[in-house]
């Protein structure tokens, strides 16, 4: 091993094996996946995100939700995800590569300090719940160590009519009732739109059959 050329060639070959195996081949295999198209309606599955949800994805990324929440549901063989209802209630199923086709980026996550969010839009379909939760998670989920995101809300004095967006029935650390209100910023609204759009088990994909609970 005293010839530089030998070492360089060896390093190049080793690099190329994994580069081909785990970059090029996955690119060919996964990079060209197409949405599932219904023969009669021509509907595409998964459907594209509504615009505001795409902005919300950026807010999700900016504030690092991924460090405590995953967005991937494993099959019954690999974990308790489906038993926990994270794969949807009616036709529980795992997530597969095509579920992320319309995302600009996927936040699969590697840590579950909190619950998985792949289907959080199906489980929690009330925007108000999400706003409350973002403002102070421990209030809707006592004992939660999810950080409150007060910076996503504006505390302001009510002038004339209260805002229709104002947080309903806010609890502790509250604005003075009737005189102040907490209004979600556009960022908070986009984030909630994104969270509510996460309903990956609400449609079917042929490669991910439903895995009903065993009786």
């Amino acid at each position: 091993m005293n010839r530089s050329s030998l070492i360089f060639v060896g390093l190049l070959l080793i690099f190329l094996t994994s580069f081909i195996g785990l970059v090029i081949v996955p690119y060919v295999q996964l990079g060209r996946l197409l949405p599932d198209i219904d023969d009669t309606t021509r509907d595409q599955t998964p459907a594209a995100f509504p615009g505001i949800a795409e902005q919300g994805r950026a807010v999700y990324a900016a504030n690092g939700c991924v460090y405590c929440h995953s967005q991937q549901v494993r099959s019954r063989k690999s974990g308790s995800d489906l038993d926990r209802g994270w794969g949807g209630d009616t036709d529980p199923r795992r997530t597969v590569a095509r579920d992320y086709l319309r995302d600009r980026a996927a936040y699969l996550g590697a840590s579950r300090m909190g619950p998985d969010l792949a289907n959080v839009g199906s489980r929690r379909d009330k925007a108000d719940w999400h706003f409350q939760h973002l403002y102070d998670p421990a209030e809707v989920a006592p004992g939660s160590n999810c950080p409150p995101m007060h910076f996503l809300f504006e505390r302001r004095t009510i002038v004339g009519q209260p805002s229709i967006d104002a947080l309903q029935a806010p609890g502790a650390e509250r604005p003075v009732p009737g005189r102040q209100e907490l209004v979600p910023t556009p960022q908070a609204k986009a984030l909630v739109a994104y969270l509510m759009s996460l309903k990956r088990s609400s449609y079917k994909l042929p490669e991910a059959p439903s895995e009903p609970a065993e009786p």
């Binding site: 530089s4 690099f15 580069f19 785990l22 295999q29 996946l33 690092g64 590569a97």
Partner: protein, 521 residues
């Protein structure tokens, strides 16, 4: 280390007693008696050290600054984790920004910069080539740090990407790529045009590290941010990148340090050189394939994950053959560890390497991963690797190299002793908190009847223990900074009082004015 006052001070790595002669001798033992080191060799080394002094110290200095920044950010992140209601009105102070900011500050800022500094110095010494056109390297250093600063500030101000270990905003990556490529070209050219024909393990690892990073970094940035492919394919490339980042780039840098520092500290060659050759090629090949164990059960084709699991498991073969290189050399010489900080840190780093590798292999087994996969056990593995293996190796490198650049030894032996033990105890607390808590968390997650809130509340006391460990690590990093600053200040003073022998005046033109007028007292 109680004998610090009578022995050569702990920093003493034998600056005068054991000048390095032909560093690449195989086995790479420092020829112990100064009589065998010719004046010519010492002059040559002095020229090399002189040529590298400025840039190596710049990289070490900025690395230590990033170590402090990372420590501060990680303390804040742990405060937020344990007390979520702490400072909720500031967006940059939210956990989800502090966490990636501290991770990347440690990885690219501290480990990246210190690895570059140590890597260039070791490469230069082993190749017996002084650094030429150091100005370009200084420019690359500045660019690298500008990129890092923009990256960390970008994460805190809400431009982070939330892709683990790659959170810097996308406009930062061309800056870091350019800066690192300039640095890597230096190292590769040094290796290609070396004066010492013979090569040594450290050089192979360094060649790998310097070549690897630009490739993987460019690939992952193209695939995820510049020409984005569909997200599931991004995820595969992402974890391929992370696997290479840890398993090749950082591992190769840290092992290059160990292969350099340990035999020299022991005055004994590594045991069974052939194992090192096997270890090198096998480790690179297997590590570069093993990244996808992080997505076991994830929404990507199963064959990719299976290949990664197999490669990940097989890494145990090179890991233990590398360990044998060192345990063979250490046999019967444990007492030297007590008085040579560089050796002690590098050796401890090796044991953390083995520990982190074994834990990493376990995380690849499906039965183990079913419990541990989404728990903080994975965090424990990353920390053992990064703060333990890589961190300790880099401390060892700086303890070895900095005195040689500055011409005198570490000033405060007590600080070094405290730094070592605080680091070890901090890491032990961090590990016990994360591992015990993580297994409890994982078992809870496996049982669908246990609600997430209950799991979090079970985990909290363990996070407190781990947070205490992080605090101790931060304190030990402050001590290390103090030690380094004292060395810099002391260097200015002591150089005037007594001139180290290696800086004997030399007629070589590239030796600058700083060494030339020095006379032997």
């Amino acid at each position: 280390m109680s004998s610090a006052e009578t022995e050569p001070t702990p920093g003493s790595t034998g600056l005068i007693a054991t000048p390095e002669t032909v560093p690449a001798s195989n086995p790479p033992i420092a020829l112990a008696s100064s009589s065998r080191a010719s004046l010519e060799t010492r002059q040559e080394l002095a020229v090399i050290d002189e040529s590298l002094r400025g840039s190596t110290l710049l990289f070490f200095g900025s690395a230590i600054a990033w170590l402090l920044i990372g420590s501060a950010l990680s303390l804040l992140a742990w405060c937020k984790l344990i007390v979520p209601h702490f400072l909720t009105n500031l967006d940059w102070m939210t956990f989800g920004r502090l966490w990636p900011a501290q991770q990347d500050a440690f990885l690219y800022g501290w480990a990246g910069s210190a690895g570059i500094g140590a890597g260039l110095w070791i490469m230069s010494r082993l190749c017996r080539v002084p650094l030429r056109h150091g100005g370009v390297l200084t420019a690359a250093w500045a660019l690298w740090n500008i990129g890092l600063l923009m990256g960390v500030v970008g994460i805190l101000s809400g431009d982070g990407t939330s892709q683990p270990w790659l959170e810097f905003p996308r406009h930062v990556s061309p800056i870091l790529f350019t800066a690192y490529s300039f640095i890597a070209i230096w190292a590769v050219l040094m290796f290609r045009y070396r004066r010492e024909g013979h090569t040594y393990v450290s050089q192979w690892y360094l060649a790998a590290a310097f070549l690897w990073f630009p490739w993987i970094y460019a690939t992952v940035n193209l695939v995820e941010f510049f020409l984005p492919v569909q997200p599931a394919a991004q995820a595969v490339v992402h974890w391929w990148y992370v696997g290479n980042l840890f398993g090749v780039w950082l591992t190769a840098t840290a092992l290059a340090i160990a292969y350099y520092v340990v035999p020299r500290g022991l005055h004994r060659p590594i045991h069974r050189y052939g194992l090192a050759v096997f270890g090198f090629w096998a480790l690179l090949l297997l590590s570069s394939w093993s990244g996808l164990v992080h997505v076991i059960g994830g929404p990507i084709p199963a064959w990719m994950i299976t290949v990664s699991i197999v490669a990940n498991t097989l890494t145990l073969l090179p890991v233990f053959s590398i360990l044998r290189n060192f345990t063979g050399a250490l046999e019967g010489r444990g007492h030297v560890l007590r008085r040579t900080p560089s050796l002690r840190f590098a050796t401890a780093g090796l044991y953390f390497f083995v520990g982190a590798s074994v834990l990493g292999v376990c995380l690849g087994f499906r039965w183990f991963s079913e419990v541990a996969h989404f728990s903080v056990v994975t965090l424990a593995q990353e920390q053992l690797f990064l703060a333990g293996f890589v961190g300790f190796s880099l401390f060892g490198a700086i303890y070895y190299i900095a005195p040689r650049l500055l011409g005198h030894d570490w000033v405060a032996p007590d600080l070094i002793r405290w730094q070592f033990w605080l680091n070890v105890v901090g890491l032990a607390l961090l590990m016990s908190g994360l591992l015990l808590g993580g297994f409890l968390q994982g078992l809870g997650l496996e049982d669908a009847k246990v609600p997430p809130i209950v799991i979090v509340n079970l985990l909290n006391p363990f996070l407190l223990v781990a947070g205490l460990g992080v605090l101790l690590l931060a304190i030990s990093n402050v001590l290390f900074t103090a030690s380094f600053l004292l060395l810099l200040v002391g260097a200015g003073r002591r150089l005037v009082l007594s001139k180290p022998f290696v800086f004997v005046s030399t007629a070589t033109p590239s030796a600058s004015a700083a060494t030339a007028p020095v006379t032997v007292p």
